[in-house]
């Protein structure tokens, strides 16, 4: 049976203070004008952690797929806690797990990081301008893929244990300070993300759903892609910031060392072969390719969401390309 706990904010901070002696703890803080994860190294940093706001700037994948890493060394095995993960990024983890833990080539670096990381998800109580998780069936409440669900409410922290790993952590660090409670006590807290869900559904009511978007993209003509890609500079920010974009470039170093560096189909020559053929030669073909991948090919092949509606690609685009406007137009 699912276990729920109630702990005062003060005691929760003590829990975290004990945990940082064993774990690398990453949690969202306000950094200048945005919110992002920070490594919490000292007791005084703990009070800066923010809870239950909308997503941090960096997607969760950054913790499992670093921008650059040597892939012929042994994995590090560092124990980590990532706190404050929004539900959209947890939904993206399903894609990453399916992809990187798929037999026969289980990625040793991804697996090592997944196994050694405790995930504490937090419900979203507020949303940002481009959040549209509910359009794709993702709820702003933490339902799965986290080890612990956490919400901060009126000076207390409300915890729900979602996995064996989460249970172990609770037993070791929290049980002494916390009081087990029943689901009825959680209801007022959970109601907050329930309210946000309704708001998001209303706000994004014109946006076609996930499967519908796939159908629309498949049958779309070239014109609309050329129109929306006109200002694209192929910088790849949309992919870098995407919780489910996974492509990379392998770079060879002397002595048979290899470095894996995140890459994107938005970069020119991504698919070009030595003889010169390049199916993604044009900018609009590359631009469309990313959405074909997310809404058609990945779901068809892996049966998981490859866009979780976080909206980061819209926020990150320096050309101010808004894929949701494109999909509304396609749906018109």
């Amino acid at each position: 049976m699912t276990k729920h706990y109630l702990i005062s904010h003060e005691n929760w901070d003590k829990v975290l203070n004990r945990a940082i002696s064993k774990y690398h703890l990453y949690a969202p803080v306000i950094r200048e004008n945005h919110q992002d994860y920070k490594l919490v190294e000292q007791e005084q940093d703990i009070s800066h952690i923010i809870y239950n706001t909308a997503k941090p700037a960096s997607p969760l994948k950054t913790f499992f797929l670093p921008v650059k890493e040597n892939v012929v060394r042994e994995p590090e095995g560092t124990s980590r806690i990532i706190l404050g993960i929004p539900p959209c990024d947890l939904a993206g983890l399903e894609m990453l797990d399916t992809f990187y833990l798929e037999e026969p080539y289980v990625d040793p670096y991804y697996r090592d990081r997944r196994e050694n990381t405790l995930l504490i998800g937090t419900d979203c109580f507020t949303a940002q301008e481009h959040c549209h998780c509910t359009t794709y069936g993702v709820s702003p409440a933490v339902e799965k893929y986290a080890d612990i669900r956490l919400a901060s409410h009126e000076g207390n922290m409300y915890l729900t244990v979602l996995s064996g790993k989460g249970e172990e952590f609770v037993r070791e660090y929290i049980a002494g300070e916390a009081r087990e409670t029943d689901e009825s006590r959680m209801a007022p807290v959970w109601e907050k993300s329930g309210q946000l869900k309704k708001e998001l559904e209303e706000r994004n009511s014109r946006l076609p759903g996930y499967e519908r978007t796939g159908v629309l993209i498949r049958k779309s003509g070239e014109d609309i892609w050329e129109k929306y890609a006109a200002d694209c500079v192929s910088c790849g920010a949309c992919s870098s910031i995407c919780p489910t974009c996974t492509c990379f470039l392998l770079i060879d170093r002397p002595e048979f060392e290899k470095v894996r560096s995140l890459d994107t189909c938005q970069h020119p020559a991504f698919e070009r072969v030595a003889a010169g053929e390049d199916p993604l030669h044009s900018k609009s073909a590359r631009f469309r390719n990313r959405y074909l991948c997310k809404y058609v090919w990945r779901p068809e092949k892996y049966n998981t969401l490859a866009c979780t509606g976080c909206g980061r690609c819209i926020e990150a685009c320096i050309a101010r390309i808004n894929k949701n406007e494109l999909f509304v137009e396609l749906n018109a």
Binding site: V71, L250, E271, A275
Partner: protein
């Protein structure tokens, strides 16, 4: 981005098998096949086995990697050959290799030719240019198991007689029972005594029992395209045409995304596909 940290609380663990680490090999010999094509024979530090049609990534340390289907026999595990056309940055370095140089081999990767499905059948092979490389490996395999097959017909095309590769191998093959070889060139010279024209002209010269045959096609994209269309026109079923696809395979593991062909990763789901598997995917001939 999350902040990096200098602190470590490491407990290192060996991965079961790291597919990014190449197996070092020493270049044994470099054979000039044509002005633009060379075959590199290598001795891997450990025995290395592959199935015909599977590919490897050949690593030039510090320079890069490129995918090749070995052109040597899959029955040989101590020595491997790859046949490389000089087309770009990495292949330029490969062409500069000499005896004793150290290279790396990763793999084998992907899905090769399904030999068992070809047992009892007649096999028609259509090859062009450097696309002969995977086919030679297949032919070695077919020669070793020739009792399993009714007949093997190789139709090979190249631009000029000078660019016809594997000349000694062709002579060897012509002396093997059940094997027939037809060649054509686009631009003949005065010594050329075989067919003239694009490789598909050879298909008009052969007799093939289509209901009991499979076809294998490997070559440049344009030749693959028109070769496949011709085979379809002749009446070959879509699922009996095996195509060895070329895309920008990099990791070999179906992860890096560079060889995406619609829903497939050519490196993992291919490189050998039947035509019916890929006909609805985008950009298969480019």
């Amino acid at each position: 981005m999350p902040e990096a940290t200098a602190r470590t609380r490491s407990k290192t663990r060996k991965p079961a098998r790291n597919m990014y680490t190449p197996l070092p090999a020493t270049v044994e010999k470099v054979i000039d096949e044509s002005p633009t094509i060379k075959t590199i024979a290598m001795i891997p530090d450990e025995e290395f086995s592959f199935k015909t049609g599977e590919f490897i990534e050949l690593t030039i340390p510090g320079i890069g990697e490129a995918p090749f289907t070995p052109s040597s026999s899959p029955l040989e595990t101590k020595r491997m050959e790859v046949t490389v056309m000089k087309t770009g940055y990495v292949t330029d370095y490969i062409h500069r290799l000499k005896k004793g140089d150290r290279v790396g081999i990763r793999g084998p990767f992907g899905r090769g030719y399904p030999l068992e499905d070809m047992y009892g059948k007649e096999i028609l092979i259509l090859g062009g240019g450097c696309g002969f490389a995977p086919i030679r490996s297949l032919l070695y395999n077919l020669m070793a198991e020739k009792d399993q097959f009714r007949k093997v017909t190789l139709c090979y095309g190249s631009k000029t007689p000078e660019e016809c590769i594997y000349k000694p191998f062709i002579n060897e093959l012509r002396s093997v029972e059940k094997f027939e070889v037809l060649r054509s060139v686009d631009k003949p010279d005065e010594t050329w005594e075989e067919s003239v024209g694009v490789v598909t002209v050879l298909l008009d010269e052969i007799r093939v029992d289509i209901p009991n045959a499979v076809a294998v096609v490997c070559g440049p994209p344009i030749m693959m395209k028109f070769g496949t269309f011709k085979l379809l026109e002749m009446g070959f079923p879509e699922n009996k045409i095996f195509l060895s696809m070329e895309k920008n395979m990099s990791c070999g593991l179906g992860k890096c995304g560079h060889c995406t062909m619609g829903k497939y990763f050519v490196c993992k789901d291919g490189p050998v596909f039947t035509y019916d598997e890929i006909k609805d995917q985008p950009d298969i001939w480019s």
